[in-house]
């Protein structure tokens, strides 16, 4: 059984028209930001990937804790409070897989951290019995702050092999992000790869993944699979009741009259937009033959 899902392509409903006065069809733009007095001399190249959040990466027996880039350079800024929340969430969400006593190397990139913030990160890691062994920072201030707080620091201007390597290899996705948690309203998880949630995704929360999204629980929020444009990506949930589903550049919302009962389902892009099929009947082989151009 394949259910039809009303699908629309986001903005296509209000397609642009040259005349701004036609109420059913108008373009509205805000004025550009007035140039501020302390305008940045050169607009730094926007982060190639706006989806960067706090990230753990295991590499050669150690754990790399990679921070998102400095907020002032990012289109999707992650400020300290948010960073702290993300770190907490990643630690508690993936606790079972974080081997205690694995040395952690903190990749601060170009973020400004004061010694207190470094200590707070250390404290959060210590709660999961992860020792903070070394800090890599490209900003002098951060390096000094970390050294003052008594950590072993390495200041680098380029983080060639650590952290920033991922931007060079833009094609390769990150390893899947596993989260054992309930995503509550206001939480947004962004990941350059597949996201697996063991728990519920509540309304008001969202997941933006460049790969697939698996929800072992109730899916009630907004999820976006294949956010980088990969239309082959899928969304699977035990209980598929999303506010909105997005795959690559397609958007679908849930039907106005919800079904009586839920079974595990899979959402994918079919010939006419996003479709949903029962997981039990979703045959991978069928789909691949269908989709080959």
């Amino acid at each position: 059984m394949v259910q039809d899902f009303p699908s629309s392509n986001g903005s296509s409903e209000d397609a642009p028209a040259p005349d701004g006065l036609d109420f059913n069809n108008f373009i509205l733009e805000i004025e550009p930001e007035p140039a501020s007095a302390e305008a940045e001399p050169v607009k730094t190249k926007p982060e190639s990937n706006p989806n960067l959040q706090v990230q753990f990466k295991s590499e050669g027996g150690r754990l790399l804790l990679i921070l998102p880039p400095a907020p002032e350079k990012s289109r999707n800024p992650v400020y300290w409070d948010e960073l702290r929340r993300q770190l907490k969430e990643r630690i508690s969400g993936g606790e079972r897989f974080l081997q205690p006593h694995t040395p952690v190397h903190l990749i601060a990139r170009d973020r400004l951290l004061d010694s207190q913030q470094v200590q707070q990160i250390d404290a959060l890691l210590s709660d999961a019995q992860l020792p903070l062994k070394r800090i890599y920072a490209s900003r002098r201030q951060t390096a000094v702050a970390a050294a003052t707080a008594g950590y072993s620091v390495e200041q680098q201007t380029t983080l060639s092999h650590l952290g920033q390597g991922q931007e060079a290899s833009r094609q390769a996705m990150d390893e899947p992000l596993y989260l054992q948690t309930t995503l509550r309203s206001g939480v947004e998880v962004r990941h350059r790869g597949t996201v697996i949630v063991l728990g519920d995704v509540n309304p008001g929360s969202s997941i933006v993944a460049e790969g697939d999204i698996f929800i072992w629980g109730h899916l009630r929020g907004v999820v976006h699979a294949g956010a980088g444009g990969n239309a082959q990506c899928r969304i699977m949930a035990l209980h598929m009741q999303p506010t909105q589903l997005r795959i690559a550049d397609k958007v679908a919302r849930s039907p106005d009259d919800p079904p009586m009962q839920y079974q595990p389902e899979v959402a994918y892009i079919g010939p006419d937009g996003i479709r949903i099929a029962l997981a039990a009947e979703f045959a991978l082989a069928d789909l691949t033959t269908q989709e080959s151009p």
Partner: protein
């Protein structure tokens, strides 16, 4: 000239968002082009009350970040195409937007819409300052409770300090039976403290809870409930319809008698 009205209260839970949704819908029904703006970043609700949550693709922040045009972020109401919602972001805090940015958003909206209703968050911090930044008028929503009235009074002062002089009052959730029994502040009591013009009185009505949960504003109902009539009346007064001052008390009176009948008094 478009009218830019902020709905605010100081205290939370008095019905700002309910009033915004219903007034916006009632104005749109009357043929006005209405944009309702959710200024409650991080705790948005207006989309829920309008039943538009699952149609949101972009938010005001995406517009400001230059990721989409303003018209792409506007969610048009299917039931009432004169009404559009500019959603707030749910994953950010009130600090993620500046008053100057709010002004740019609202200014662009005035090119298309005659009425812009801004749903302010509770409190008097950043979110409140953002929501009043572009407003030229204000509607104070309060309930006949001493705490709500106290906060409303403070907010009126702040609005005046920000040169918003056209401030009018909506008293929400009035229970005429309790007022009659002198257990609740009366309209007169509230007005006595706040001393601003009264735009309307909304009686306490269980239907409000039902409509909130359904995402269907009361004023859309075929047969209007008491609160639905009251909201429609407020919208008419807001459009400058010369409803004589006498009229202000009429809906209240009729609820009064009806409620009395209900309680067999």
């Amino acid at each position: 000239m478009s009218r830019i009205i902020v709905m605010t209260s100081g205290k939370g839970g008095v019905g700002k968002t309910t009033c915004t949704a219903n007034l916006g819908m009632a104005l749109a029904k009357a043929g006005q082009r209405v944009a309702v703006v959710d200024a409650d970043f991080g705790l948005r609700n207006l989309d829920l009350l309008l039943g538009l949550e699952n149609r949101i693709v972009y938010t005001a922040l995406d517009v400001l970040a230059g990721e989409c045009r303003l018209d792409q972020a506007l969610v048009k109401d299917k039931r009432q195409p004169n009404l559009a919602l500019l959603p707030a972001a749910q994953n950010r805090s009130k600090e993620s937007i500046k008053p100057e940015q709010m002004k740019r958003l609202i200014k662009a909206l005035t090119k298309v819409y005659n009425f812009i209703l801004i749903d302010s968050p509770a409190g008097i911090e950043m979110g409140f300052r953002n929501s009043i930044a572009a407003a030229r008028e204000a509607i104070i929503v309060t309930t006949p409770e001493i705490s709500a009235v106290r906060d409303a009074d403070r907010v009126i002062g702040l609005l005046e300090a920000n040169d918003i002089k056209a401030v009018r009052l909506v008293i929400n959730r009035l229970r005429p039976a309790m007022v009659a029994a002198e257990q609740m502040m009366s309209v007169k009591d509230v007005q006595g403290i706040l001393s601003i013009p009264l735009l309307g009185v909304i009686p306490d009505d269980e239907q409000v809870i039902v409509s909130t949960n359904k995402g269907e504003p009361l004023v859309l109902e075929e047969k209007l409930s008491k609160a639905g009539i009251a909201f429609t009346n407020v919208s008419q007064r807001l459009q400058g319809e010369k409803v004589p001052l006498m009229d202000l008390s009429i809906p209240q009176d009729s609820f009064f008698t009806r409620l009395k009948r209900l309680f067999g008094m």
